[in-house]
Amino acid sequence: MSDRSERLSVLKTYKLFVGGKFPRSESGRVYEVTDAKDRWLANAPQASRKDARDAVVAARKAFGGWSGATAYNRGQILYRVAEMLEGRREQFVREVADAEGLSKSKAGAQVDAAVDRWVWYAGWSDKVAQIAGSANPVAGPYFNLSSPEPTGVVAVLAPQDSSFLGLVSVIAPAIVTGNTTVVVGSEDRPLPALSLGEVLATSDLPGGVVNVLSGRTAEIAAPLASHQDVNAFDLTGAAPELAAELEAAAAENLKRVVRPQAVDWTADPGTRRMLSFLETKTVWHPMGV
C-alpha cells in the first residue's frame, strides 16, 4: 500500500452464500477474522439459526433439479468450478496463506491440490454408479439392479484447520452424486469458504446446491442437527464433545452421520465420502422369458 498511498483501500465485504445469492446474516452480526498472527483480516458474517434455516430451504429447493440432472452434466459443472478456481488462484493463495499462516509457496500447493481434488471428484460423477451399484443375481426371472441415489440435503461442518483444501474435500464428494449442501466454514478461518461461494456462483452451479455459512460452529450446527429436513450430517469440523451432542440430535430423524476423524487432506481421499451420502435403490424388472 505504501507505494500507492494516494489510493483509498477497497475492503471486501464478505457475505454468506445462500440460494445463489449473497445475503448478510439475518441477525446483522459480524465477527472479526484474524490471520495466524492475530492481525485483523476482515469481518465475516456471523450466521444465526435463521440463516441456517434459510439455507436448508434453499438446499431443499435446489435438490430436485440437481439430483435430477444427468451425471454427465454434474461432472461438467464441477469441472467448470475447477476452471473458475484456477482463474482466482492468486486470491485463494493469499487467503489461505493468511488464514493458516503458510508461506506463499505452501499455500499455493494447497490451492493447487484443492483444484486437483475438485477435478478428481468431477470425474467421479458418471462413474460412482459403477462402484456403488450392482446387478444382483436373484432366484427368479428378473433383472435385479441396485443403483445409488443421493441422500438429499447434507449439512457439512467443514474442517477447522484446513480452510480450503479440507473444505473442497468435504463439499465436492457430497454434491458430485447429486446431494445439495449447507456448509459451515471453519470458524476462525472462514474467508476461503466465503470466497468459494463467489466462485460457485459463477460456475453454472444452480443456486442452493452449495450454501456457505460462517460464524460460530456450535450455534449454527445445533439447529441443523435437529432440523427434520436435513438428511445427512458431516461432522468433520466439530470438536469431540459437540460432535456427540450433534449426533444425538441428528438421530431424531435418522440422519446419516459422518463422524469426525483425523484426516490428512493432502492424501488420496478414496471414495468413502462420496459413498457416505448415497442411498441404494433396487428395481426388479421382469425378464421376457
Binding site: R53, P223, S226, Q228, D229, A249
Partner: protein, 316 residues
Amino acid sequence: MADVTASDGALRRFLHGLPGVDAVGLQVRAATLGTRSIKTTAKAYAIDLAISMIDLTTLEGADTPGKVRALCAKGAHPDPTDRTVPKVAAICVYGDMVATAKEALASASGSDIHVAAVATAFPSGRAAMPVKLADTRDAVAAGADEIDMVIDRGAFLSGRYLDVFEEIKQVKEACARPDGGAAHLKVIFETGELQTYDNVRRASWLAMLAGADFIKTSTGKVAVNATPPVTLLMLEAVRDFRAATGVQVGVKPAGGIRTSKDAIKYLVMVNETLGEEWLTADWFRFGASSLLNDLLMQRQKLRTGHYSGPDYMTVD
C-alpha cells in the same frame, strides 16, 4: 347513503369524490406494519388464528372429487398428529364440487366448516348476466355457504359503475336460500387488474354499497395477487364504511400468501386498522392453499423446538 346509488351519475360522482389514495403513504404504512416482531406466545396465538381463518382453496381445472375430499379431510384435521390444531374456516372450490365437499366435510366431522364456491364465470367474469346468476344459484342450491363472485372488471374500468353495482346486487339476491337464509357473498375485485389504488378504493365502496358481506382482493389467477398495501387500503375502506353506515364488512386477501410470516403481517394490519373485532374467521379470511402447510410447520417448530420439513406435511 341510498341516494348515491340512485343513478349512474350520482354513483360516479360519489366514487370519484372519494379522497385520492396517498400511494407512497399507503406503501410505507403497510411496510411499517410488516416489521412488527411477533414471537413466542403471541406467535402461537397468531398461527392458530391464521389457521382458523383459512379458506382452503383448490381452483384447478384438474380438480377431481378425490382431491376435493382430501382437501376437506385436511381442512377438518390439518395436522393428523396433533388434534389441538384448529379447523380451517372454509373449503373453497368450483361450483360443481360443492356437493362433494359438503359430503366429505360431513363424513370428516367437519360439518361446521363452510363450503365456499366461486361463481359468476370465475375467474374472468366474462359471461352474460343470466349465466352468472345461474352459476350462483346452482352453487347455492348445491349447498354452498359462501359465494365468491368476481366483478366485471371491464365494466368497472370503463366507468360503468352502476352496471357493476347492479351485478353485485343481483348476485346477492341469487344467494338467497328458499329457507330464508342466504349464502354469504364475497366480492372479488381482482385488484391486480384495477391498475390504481384509487380504483381499489372505489371498488371497495361500490361493493359494500351493493351489499357485499366480504370484499376479496384477487382470484389467484393473475400475475399480481394480494399485496399488503392493497389489503390495507381495503381494510381502511371497511373501517370508513362502518363509520359511515354502521355496517360491518369482512376482508379476504387471496393469492400469493404462502408463508406464516406473511400471514402474521396481515393479522397485524387487521388489528392495527380495524381492531380485535375483525380478528375472527367471521370477518377476516385468507384465501390460500400452500399457506396451511407452512403454518403447520411453524406450529411444529414452536411445539418441538426444532425445524420441521415438507416431508412431514401432506402434499396437496
